[in-house]
Structures are given as C-alpha cells and as structure tokens.
Symmetry: C2
Subunit: 282 residues, 2 copies
C-alpha cells in the first residue's frame, strides 16, 4: 500500500483547514493536527510532514498576521493557494434536540461571525472556547446534552456528532485563503496537478526615505503587473518601520516579472520571494 | 471645583493606556475603563466621556486591526497621537518575596513579550489572563501569596501591590502608538497644548482595477508628501478587496495636502479623513 502524504494544519481534527486540505489535495492524505501555527511550521522544517496548509487571510477578519511573520522567519516555500467558503454549523451530540440546548461553545471569531443567530436565540449564551472543531470534540467527550458547538461540517463527521442547523454565519461572503507550504528546497512530494505557477508572493523592506513604497509599487505598475494584496508588518528593532508583503499576478519565469523583481531588489534593503504558485480559481 | 475631563480607555485601571493618557493629558483627568475597544467607541459616541485613548499599533505586535475597523465604523475624529514605551514589570502583593512565587498571570501578549524572563525562571509557569492590569487586581483581591502578575507600573500603585522586578520585557524597542479620539464635531474639550496639527490619517477604497494603489500613492509622491504608515483591511461584502489606511505628514490646511486629498478623492470610490493632529514628538 502507498504511504499517504502527511499534511499538517493548525487546530483539532475537523477544522476548516482540514476541509480545505481535502479539497485541494484529495482524500489520499494523512492529516496531522498542530496545536499552534508555529508548531505547524516547526513540523515542516523538521520534515515530520510533507506539507502544511495554513490560513493567511479571511475576507471578514483580515490577515492572519502571525502566519505572515512565520513565513518570513521560517522561509518555507509557498507552492499553492486555495480559498474555502467558511460555513458555520450548529453541532450537538446525536439525539440532542435544539430545544434542549442551553449554551453554545466555539472559538471567539466563529461566535462573532454568528451574531445574528445568537441574537435570535438568547437562551443560547455563547461560551468562548479555544478551537471550533475542539468544541465539538469536547461536547462529545463530556457527553453534554445541553450544549452545542459551532464548527465546520467535517467536525460533526469526525466526532460522530450531528448538525442541527447549517450555515448559521451572518455573512455568506466569508472566505479563507490558505497557503500550501513545503519543508524546503529538497525533493517535492507528489502533489495533484494544480496548474502553471502564475502568482508570486514576496516580502521586502525599503530604506526609510520618502517615496520608498511608491517607487516599490512603480516596479510593478510600470510593467503592467497586477498586485492583488499588500500587507505591512512591523520591522523588529526599527520602531515605526515596516516589512511589506506583496502578492502579484505573474511568475518570475516571465521576463517582465523577473525584471520587476530585479528592479525591486535594487530599491530594497531586503527582498525574499516567498513562493510562486498557481492562483486559486473558483 | 472644576469637573475633571473624563477619558475612556480599554482595560482595567492601571493599564498601559491609562499611563499614556496621563502622560498626554496630565493628572487632571478622570479615567473611565471600558471592557472592550468597541465599548470605548460607544461611550464616546453617547458623549458619556469627553475623549478616549485607544492603541492603534505596537512596534512588536503590529496594528490593532479592530481599532482600524472601529475608526471607520464610528468616524470619531482623531485629535492627537502619542507613543509610549511598554515596560513590563513583575508585580506581587506587599510582603510576597520573589522566592515564594509559583506562577505568573498576565495577558498572553505580555507573557509572550517576557519570554526570556520566563525561560530563566522555569518555576514560574505563565498563566494567561484576560488583562495585564486585571491580573494585578485579581492577585490582590484573592490575596495570592504564591502568584505575581506582569503589568504596567501604574497597576502596582492603583491596587497597592509591589514591583518585584522592573523592565522584564525581552525587547526594549517595545512602543505603542495611541490615538486620542473625540465624540464628534461638537464643542471641543479643553485639551493641553499639543502643537499645530501636522499629520493626517485617511481611509480610502479604490476601484478594483490594476494600478489603483500605485496611482493613489502617486497623489502623495508627486507632491513630496511623506507617508508614515499604510495598512490594508478587508472590504466587507467584496471578497479580496481592501480598504487602505494611510498616515501622512502634513495638514489639509497646506495647499499641497488639500490638493493631494482632492486628487485622491478623484481616484477613490470612497475617502474619509479620520483626523488631522500634531504628530507625536519624543
């Protein structure tokens, strides 16, 4: 039998990241939960797993800044991106009826994204918990008959729980974007065909002089290269200066993009290409 | 007797925000703690207080994204900024000796910023708590003789506790920038002289076409106006599009700045001036 590709993600089994990993990589994978984002990066660097799927931004909550910082610190290559719609479900133990519920556990971000549902059901006070899927695991382990959890549908399947209400999130335009990371330069695991790399992520720091960021963006604008995201993060040890993370459409294999990167390097104190990967299409 | 100006901030009495408020506004103020950032904004809008001091970025942790979102939602004017060095202190009840301590309570961010100290003292396991100053309040109320808290020096004074170790943070380049907000356009409270407004914060959204951000920054670069910060936040309801928050040096009273703002408006789908204030000098 073929050994399954090991994929790490942050959270308990049944997390949204796990759903996204299966959609991107198929079912022939072994999922390895990591307690924190940094643990996932460490597992990758030690090559305990072949790849990792980490969230980078959500259309409501914004960027996952910790992962931006970890991308720079660990320098693990991004080889794919994927986007998943976040559907929150009310989940309880089998046999538990909606009318029996007296509280709802979930991660504070998930509770915040289901405020309309919680307001319509004031007899279900929200209880913050460390993880969405972890809250399903807990109500099942403790056999709570008066409590539900808010989590991904996958969590119900994994822990043998039942979905009582589907899609209870306030805003349907709730998507998370994930990066697929590899441990480093070595041999690549066999990934499904994801298409030709046509998107690139970089991080750079400019000298602290007026107009620096403008000149950095000119590198792309002058070559008609589209930017899709810019993010700034503090530069440690240099208060009130920043790293910039940029995503652009194109690949360093195209001359205009390799020229743009050479030009950006000329203007930057620091430049690192985080990855070049096929853009998510859906 | 003159009524004191009421100033709200997030956290318990003795928070870093309280220290910053006293440094900016002096001692003739009454401090009104708010349980959350949004509660502080609501108090301001209801005019329960004359002003509020809210953190916007930290040189290690980055931007306080929730406050960026609230600035846009509540549209309360920024009238000053201030920067404070964050000094973490180990605080315990009077009479408690360092050797008696068996655990340390604080907010997870503060615990994370004192990792070297905690590593050197493995018999003091960190215990995450909801608030820095709140952890001092708790060890005093519960009269814990084996526990310390990590918090601002002001918290020791307020709750009658003692500082056992000063400046236990890993990185001395730890600063937080705060905005002073008013309830709205009405009559201004009597603020100390802070200097001439020479810095401006705006938020804008550009049409989703290539080169938009580059053209927006050109508005400033072409007029030699220095940008000091750019931050992007997701645009609700339009996945993968962003609001941009910009700080620049200059005031709309200068023609080059008012021209720049008119030019930016021409290029933007949306533009709002969040405030015009004297830059922090220290």
């Amino acid at each position: 039998m073929m050994r399954l590709m090991r994929v790490t993600f942050q959270g308990e089994r049944g997390a949204f990241s796990e759903e996204a990993a299966r959609r991107l990589l198929g079912d022939r994978i072994e999922l390895v939960p990591s307690a924190s984002f940094e643990e996932a990066f460490r597992r990758l660097r030690r090559r305990d797993v072949e790849c990792g799927l980490l969230p980078i931004e959500n259309t409501l909550a914004g960027s996952v800044h910790e992962n931006y910082d970890l991308l720079l610190r660990y320098r693990l290559p991004i080889v794919a991106e994927t986007r998943a719609r976040i559907v929150h479900n009310l989940i309880a133990a089998p046999g538990v009826k909606f009318g029996q519920l007296r509280r709802v556990f979930s991660h504070p971000v998930a509770l915040g994204q289901c405020q309309n549902f919680l307001r319509r059901n004031p007899r279900l006070p929200p209880v913050p918990f460390y993880d969405t899927a972890g809250s399903v695991k807990m109500i099942m382990e403790q056999r709570l008959a008066d409590a539900a959890a808010i989590a991904a549908a996958a969590a119900a399947g994994i822990y043998g729980a039942r979905i009582l209400r589907r899609g209870i999130e306030d805003d349907k335009e709730n998507y998370t974007r994930f990066f697929l990371l590899l441990p480093g330069k070595g041999p690549r695991p066999k990934l499904p065909r994801l298409g030709r790399p046509d998107k690139t992520s970089v991080v750079f720091a400019t000298p602290n002089v007026p107009g620096s960021l403008f000149r950095s963006l000119a590198v792309f604008a002058l070559r008609d290269i589209n930017l899709t995201k810019i993010e700034s993060r503090p530069l440690r040890g240099r208060p009130w200066e920043y790293f910039f993370y940029l995503d652009f459409l194109g690949s360093p294999e195209e001359p205009r993009c390799s020229n743009a990167l050479r030009h950006l390097k000329e203007l930057s104190e620091f430049l690192h290409v985080l990855g070049n990967y096929p853009r998510a299409r859906e």
